[in-house]
């Protein structure tokens, strides 16, 4: 029901045009969980922010593409119509719960603001909004919601604030929840609590989730589908099993190898991907990973590999999958 088609987004900066997203196609089905993984600067957050149209349009240019939510192109509707989509149809959770909330308002008032602003139909009274805020805090399992609703963000811990942010995002029962690194700023034990809460929200409220993360552990624990992004494009896309057990892209292999430290012997060095990601002011014409790829051929540097369909769910952009490619590697199990 949410479909991104050939999305291209650029930012105009002093150093030139940064082509942050360079042709992304993604599809999110009902009640699905899609994880977008990749390193900083790969375009994963920009893609998510574009769905919500959160960019400063003064320096952002959406060069092409469509974002279809139940058939409506979110890039074509007016700002006013978009405001009815935000919150009501798509909710968002941010990376830093400490900075996502207003420090001068009680959390109850912040949740009430969402309800009063976005709730279609009858306008809620202040009292009703507060009651609803308490219910929402209860739903995200914050202890003593009756008291906590009147407290300010600084009186909460990071994990508690992320619960508040989730309550706000879920306040108007959206169909889609976008979570941009929701647990990166949290400790592991708190991360486990928040991931469990998100899974529960999905079961109970039937919400579809897009989660942006660089942590493959988080991906394995919550996602059903995975899109691996690199240099502004999706290099590989598939179910979580496709990516973890049958991946075909050398970058995905590199990501999996660099976290497989548990199976490593003490003295053995970790597998790392040498080099750094490409500069998207002058994006490479060929495969963006070619410079760091140990299997790179001449064709990789000159031409962007097309998408190869490996199965109904699994797609990958790599020249090694071309029928004419002399090298056949295939994923070895880590």
């Amino acid at each position: 029901m949410l479909e991104i088609k050939d999305l291209r987004v650029s930012f105009h900066t002093y150093s030139g045009e940064v082509q942050a997203v360079r042709g992304v196609n993604l599809k999110l089905e009902d009640e699905d969980t899609l994880a977008i993984v990749g390193e900083s600067g790969c375009g994963k957050s920009v893609t998510a922010q574009t769905i919500m149209r959160l960019h400063n349009m003064e320096n952002t240019e959406i060069k092409s593409g469509e974002i279809l939510l139940d058939g409506t192109d979110l890039l074509k509707i007016s700002e006013k119509e978009m405001q009815n989509i935000r919150g009501n149809k798509i909710g968002m959770i941010f990376q830093e719960p400490m900075t996502a909330l207003n420090p001068t308002m009680t959390v109850g008032n912040q949740i009430a603001e969402v309800l009063r602003r976005h709730k279609r139909g009858k306008k809620l009274s202040r009292k009703e909004a507060r009651e609803r805020a308490v219910e929402l805090l209860q739903m995200v399992k914050l202890p003593n919601p009756e008291q906590r609703v009147d407290q300010f963000p600084h009186e909460f811990s990071g994990g508690q604030l992320q619960r508040v942010v989730i309550a706000m995002a879920m306040a108007c029962s959206p169909q889609v929840l976008i979570a941009d690194e929701p647990t990166t700023a949290l400790d592991v034990t708190v991360q486990a609590q928040i991931l469990n809460l998100m899974k529960e929200m999905q079961r109970e409220k039937k919400v579809s989730i897009i989660i942006i993360t660089h942590d493959l552990g988080v991906v394995a624990s919550i996602a059903k589908k995975v899109a691996v992004m690199y240099g502004g494009i999706v290099v590989e896309m598939g179910t979580v099993e496709d990516i973890f057990y049958r991946s075909e892209h050398p970058y995905t292999w590199g990501l999996l190898d660099s976290i497989s430290r548990l199976s490593k012997q003490k003295g053995e060095p970790l597998k790392s991907i040498e080099g750094t990601p490409p500069d998207l002011v002058k994006p490479p014409v060929g495969c963006p990973f070619a410079d760091r790829c140990e299997y790179a051929m001449k064709v990789c540097k000159d031409h962007l590999p097309p998408e190869t369909e490996l199965s109904e769910s699994h797609r990958c952009r790599c020249w090694m999958l071309d029928p004419d490619c002399p090298v056949k590697l295939g994923r070895r199990k880590v």
């Binding site: 390193e39 900083s40 202890p143 811990s157 990071g158 994990g159 508690q160 400790d187 592991v188 034990t189 708190v190 991360q191 486990a192 609590q193 991931l195 469990n196 660089h214 942590d215 493959l216 552990g217 988080v218 991906v219 394995a220 624990s221 979580v240 099993e241 973890f244 590199g254 990501l255 999996l256 660099s258 976290i259 497989s260 430290r261 548990l262 490593k264 060095p269 970790l270 597998k271 790392s272 991907i273 040498e274 750094t276």
Partner: protein
């Protein structure tokens, strides 16, 4: 361990900070040793005091109580001259590669600053040494004239490592050196740290909250909770056979990067958050969240004791609980 020479002997170390509503005990009666040549990993959640402990060792903070012995000598009260000599032997690598380099100095100047302070040779010698260090950490000679803003996170962290190595230290506190970096870059930095350790015979205190990386790099691991060291063991022992209820919860909370294993993972989910370290109640600090806590745990704080050759734990009930299982 290769040789059992104790480099650091930390005895009943305390550090508290005065805050508006009381006293924040960041490090509370911590006792342990660091052996020469080893990597001692320190894990725990934010606010558990692991960074404060690291900073105490390099004298960035002064302890309120307890003592730190480096090669048998106390380093808590040193005169200026001795303190300077000490800082040549212990160095630190910081968490934020973006904040820990002076933006107005070139990479070369940053690396040479420590050498200048300690008068390590002529200008020419320092330049030669600086280029040698750049090469050692995988940077190019032409990087010496660049400024930090021109560098990526990984390159900055390499600069931080070169700076720490410049004065030929024996011991380095690595305070979350990789947590601000991308996964593929993390492995590069870890491999570099490992290689340098073997080549230069360094001892590390490696502070991190990434449990799997600590397991990989450490010879022994200490787990901290609210200022106390609750368990110390070799990594395999600690990860496969954690004995402290907090360590058990902490290790079970790490998601496995494998969908099948992840589905089968049994989790001990702790309720609530880490309590505030300000005016902590007496007794075991974990008692409030521990499902095995008894009255004794709430009254009497357990001290770290040896239960087998390479396993130390601070828990009153460890023997009886592990008879259960």
């Amino acid at each position: 361990m290769k040789n059992e020479e104790v480099l650091f002997d930390i005895q009943h170390l305390n550090k508290s900070f005065k805050v508006d509503n009381g006293e924040l005990k960041a490090v509370d009666d911590v006792t342990f040793q660091i052996i020469k040549g080893e990597t001692f990993g320190l894990v725990g959640e934010s606010g558990c005091g692991k960074s404060t402990l690291g900073r105490l060792l390099v004298r960035l903070y002064k302890p309120n109580g307890g003592d730190i012995f480096y090669k048998g000598e106390s380093v808590v009260d040193l005169n200026r001259k001795k303190a300077k000599a000490y800082t040549k032997q212990v160095q630190m690598i910081f968490q934020q590669p973006y904040a820990s380099l002076n933006p107005r100095m070139t990479i070369g100047e940053i690396i040479k600053e420590g050498m200048k302070i300690h008068h390590l040779g002529s200008a020419k010698e320092m330049d030669d040494r600086m280029y040698e260090l750049l090469d050692m950490v995988g940077l190019n000679p032409e990087h010496a004239r660049r400024f930090p803003y021109e560098f990526s996170g990984g390159q900055r962290q390499r600069t931080g490592i070169a700076r720490a190595l410049a004065v030929n230290p024996e011991f380095i506190v690595c305070d979350e050196p990789i947590s601000a970096l991308d996964v593929s870059i993390q492995a590069q930095i870890i491999n570099l740290l490992k290689r340098l350790q073997t080549e230069l015979n360094l001892t590390y205190l490696f502070i991190a909250h990434d449990l799997s990386m600590v397991r990989y790099i450490s010879d022994r691991v200490g787990v901290m909770y609210l200022g106390s060291l609750v368990e110390v063991a070799e990594p395999e022992e600690l990860y496969l056979n954690p004995l402290h209820p907090y360590t058990q919860a902490l290790i079970s909370a790490v998601p496995k990067p494998d969908p099948v294993e992840e589905n089968e993972r049994s989790q001990i989910v702790l309720e609530g958050d880490v309590p505030s370290p300000i005016n902590t109640p007496k007794g075991c600090k974990f008692a409030g969240r521990c499902k095995y806590a008894t009255d004794r745990c709430r009254q009497e704080s357990p001290s770290l004791r040896k239960i087998s050759d390479n396993h130390m734990i601070a828990c009153h009930r460890v023997e009886e609980l592990n008879h259960f299982e």
